[in-house]
Amino acid sequence: MASISLKNICKVYPNGFEAVKDFNLEVEDKEFIIFVGPSGCGKSTTLRMIAGLEDISSGELTIDGKVMNNIEPKDRDIAMVFQNYALYPHMTVRDNMAFGLKIRKMPKAEIDKRVNEAAQILGLENLLDRKPKALSGGQRQRVAMGRAIVRNPKVFLMDEPLSNLDAKLRVQMRIEISKLHDRLGATIIYVTHDQTEAMTLGTRIVVMKDGIVQQIDSPQNLYTKPGNLFVAGFIGSPQMNFFSAKIEKEGEGLVAVVGNSRLNVPVAKAKVLTDKGYVGKEVTLGIRPEDIHDSQMFIDASPNTVIESTIKVYELLGAEVFLYFDYADTQVTARVDPRTTAKMGDTVKFALDMEKAHFFDKSTEVTITN
């Protein structure tokens, strides 16, 4: 397998549009890297530049130390799995998997060996003589993976490979891809717009927006220490709640004034806000839905971080309840215990766990306290 290095990679189209700007990343051998971001953020373009299907406008791409910018895609020793995989309808599973090797004139014995090995890895041994129409969606997807595996490449590039599957199958295949990564010990770069896929599969995640890398980090760090407002809002479902807040001094400490509430800022965060000169200034305060509590115990323990509002929507999801309400011109979501007594139309008190709150600069949108 292989390491990949992208240095100052840019993609500029002939009309001047910069699809990818100054992309830098070092991918270690056997890493599972995810490119995630909204549609049009440049994630697929970056993957296609690695594959050689798009020209690199500037910057340097190396695989195992060898510069790849001008190397033909077929000579880069990579295999790709895309969203719209089409199996050859008149060929068996075996022939579908062997096709790419046959047209490159690989000896038959070697093709058979590779197909059998891949079939075993993917649990397709009993389906090798079937035609695609006799396969389920998940089995077809595994055949598409098999076509990539038989190439025995240095790097696997996957572009939204699960997007055409239904939700249940997507979860199943996600687990299979994760297992496959462990079994093959492969270097994988995987593009998705689905943050759940990103969080569950990746060893590291590259979050992109408007062609620019926003943050490269572990799933855990992206969730708990987002580098800017975009990452904070993009990672996590339901989304993080954001309020406009003014930082003011109160006694020895600081408070964040949100609407008519004065929320106590924990000491460590208050120190950072003070040191960076945010006292008296407007900031954006972010808090995740699970860090807004309606239990009396929490409210009693944290009386200086309480807000009050009327529940607009109550959603019971079984293991949790989502409560939606408006506060200080913001639509707020709270994720609470299903034993809550709150119902639609009730006026309820909530305590914010300010230890978990995030503060962002109003103009740069960069995190202040993480």
Binding site: F17, P38, R48, A79, V81, F82, N84, M91, R104, T284
Partner: protein, 290 residues
């Protein structure tokens, strides 16, 4: 090609030796007859050439009818045409992939080193979604199996063979406009080009006049990606601020801030339908003028 060159080419293609008296060589009628003969000779035993010339609109209705009979091509079958444009000259592997994708009755026509036409024949009419899926699977199969970068454009399904030449023209237009206006996309439908298709026919002078009248000296290429994507998202969401903010993963206030900023530099308030229309047209014209 003049008459003498046509005669020379006809002799070469047919392997025969035609000759003409000097006075007939100068007649425009002779040129017409020689062109027809050359076309006949070229297509007489060459199905691919027949298709190529037919799609390019080089054959007369009579030639098309006789070619159709000669090559046992059904007149009335649903057919969807896909024009595949390769970034680099395609190779045998790409051809093998396309041949293997076929459903049994597909026709592949090699137009030149960079272009192949795939005609899919089917009992049912392929709707827009099915055409898109077919185009997407062609692009992805070429990428994964042949490691070839390609774009695909298409027209809608046509019921009569003769209509395929028009489909080809539409696919060519879609490819051209797609490359011009939708650089990042690899699939272009003739019926999904909307305003671009209309505005492409506006003269350069008229386009420039429109830009000057509505935007004075503002240069759209100076917009950063963030602002471009914000405007695009706003249009995609029918100017709905809440939906746009959601799509962009930003707070509604951030969106309003960006719209206000755009208004300051251009005078256009994107919340206002008339201003939004001016902006949409101007953005397309700016690309076109480039």
């Amino acid at each position: 090609m003049n008459t003498r060159e046509l005669l020379e080419k006809l002799n070469k293609e047919s392997g025969l030796n035609f000759s003409l008296p000097e006075e007939e060589i100068l007649s425009p009628e002779t040129e017409e007859k020689l062109s027809a003969m050359l076309s006949f000779v070229k297509t007489v035993d060459n199905r691919d050439y027949f298709f190529q010339q037919f799609l390019l609109g080089q054959l007369s209705p009579e030639d098309i009818a006789s070619g159709r009979l000669k090559y046992h091509i059904e007149k009335s079958v649903n057919r969807a045409l896909f024009l595949i444009a390769f970034k680099s000259p395609y190779d045998e592997v790409a051809l093998s992939v396309l041949s293997s994708l076929e459903t049994g009755s597909d026709i592949l026509v090699e137009m030149d080193q960079h272009h192949i036409v795939l005609i899919r024949q089917s009992k049912a009419v392929l709707n827009e979604e099915e055409c898109y899926e077919t185009a997407a699977s062609i692009v992805d199969a070429l990428g994964t199996e042949a490691m070839a970068a390609a774009r695909v454009s298409y027209d809608k399904t046509v019921p009569e063979f003769e209509q395929l030449a028009q489909s080809y023209k539409h696919a060519e237009v879609a490819m051209h406009l797609g490359v011009t206006f939708k650089n990042g996309k690899r699939i272009h439908s003739y019926h999904d080009l909307g305003l671009e298709k209309l505005l492409y026919r506006v003269s350069t002078e008229d386009a420039k006049e429109y830009m000057t009248e509505n935007l004075a000296s503002f240069d759209f290429s100076a917009l950063d990606n963030e602002m471009r994507n914000t405007i695009k998202a706003l249009f995609n969401n029918q100017l709905n601020l809440v939906e746009t903010a959601k799509e962009l993963y930003i707070h509604r206030n951030t969106l309003i801030y960006r719209i206000d900023k755009f208004q300051k530099i251009t005078g256009l308030d994107l919340r206002n339908f008339d201003d939004a229309i001016i902006c949409k047209v101007a953005m397309i014209l700016a690309e076109y003028l480039k």
